[in-house]
């Protein structure tokens, strides 16, 4: 499509006024501008698609890791409609879960290394993995992205 559009522009530029009239093209400048607008929009859409793919990968990776942490006992940070609760509320929730576990501490069998490890296995896992939840900390300039999406959707032909 890109090559085709470039060829159209080159073709229109190479023709004189009479040849253009013969092709039933009323306004060469207008037609070239229109082709250029389509090209610009296409590039914007491709960039947006790339950005979306990168974000989707990061989101999938995050959700997979977080789900594992939840299975090991980390409380869910979600409220209704899959929204993230406030940090303050989540802190309260963690403290609540920690107190609950602290008060119900018991061990089955004699306290050998293996038994001790099994008792704390999930917490050791959480302690280690929470630190590695992100390989690179995600960044998102929401306003810039929304402006970008808006630009793509309002580009006219």
């Amino acid at each position: 499509m890109l090559e085709e559009a470039v060829r159209i522009i080159q073709f229109l530029n190479s023709k004189n006024k009479y040849e253009i009239q013969e092709l039933d093209i009323p306004d060469r400048t207008d037609t070239i501008l229109e082709v250029k607008r389509v090209l610009a929009k296409r590039n914007l859409m491709l960039n947006l698609e790339d950005k979306y793919q990168t974000m989707q990968l990061a989101v999938d990776r995050f959700m997979t890791k977080f789900e594992l942490l939840r299975e090991k006992g980390l409380p869910s940070p979600l409220v209704i409609n899959d929204k993230l609760m406030t940090q303050e509320d989540y802190n309260k929730k963690i403290i609540e879960v920690a107190r609950e576990q602290e008060n119900t501490s018991s061990m089955s069998g004699i306290p050998t290394g293996t038994v001790l490890y099994q008792t704390f296995e999930n917490l050791f896992y959480l302690q280690h993995e929470v630190k590695h939840l992100f390989i690179n900390n995600p960044t998102l300039n929401r306003q810039r992205l929304m402006r970008y999406i808006g630009k793509c959707s309002t580009s006219s032909y």
Binding site: Q87, A98, M107, T119, F120, F134, P138, L140
Partner: protein, 51 residues
């Protein structure tokens, strides 16, 4: 003597040290979560945008 040992055995449980160990591990988890909360927040914004 046997009776005293039995009483001691009854009183000596691991629940307190286990509770303390759990408390320590949860404190570490709590700190880590707070350190990365901004990143978790960004991730949820991304999820909301993609949805």
């Amino acid at each position: 003597m046997n009776l005293r040992v039995k009483i001691l055995e009854k009183e000596l449980t691991l629940s307190e040290p286990l509770g303390k160990a759990k408390q320590l591990l949860w404190a570490n988890i709590f700190d880590s979560i707070n350190d990365i909360w901004a990143s978790i927040h960004v991730s949820f914004e991304q999820i909301a945008l993609i949805k």
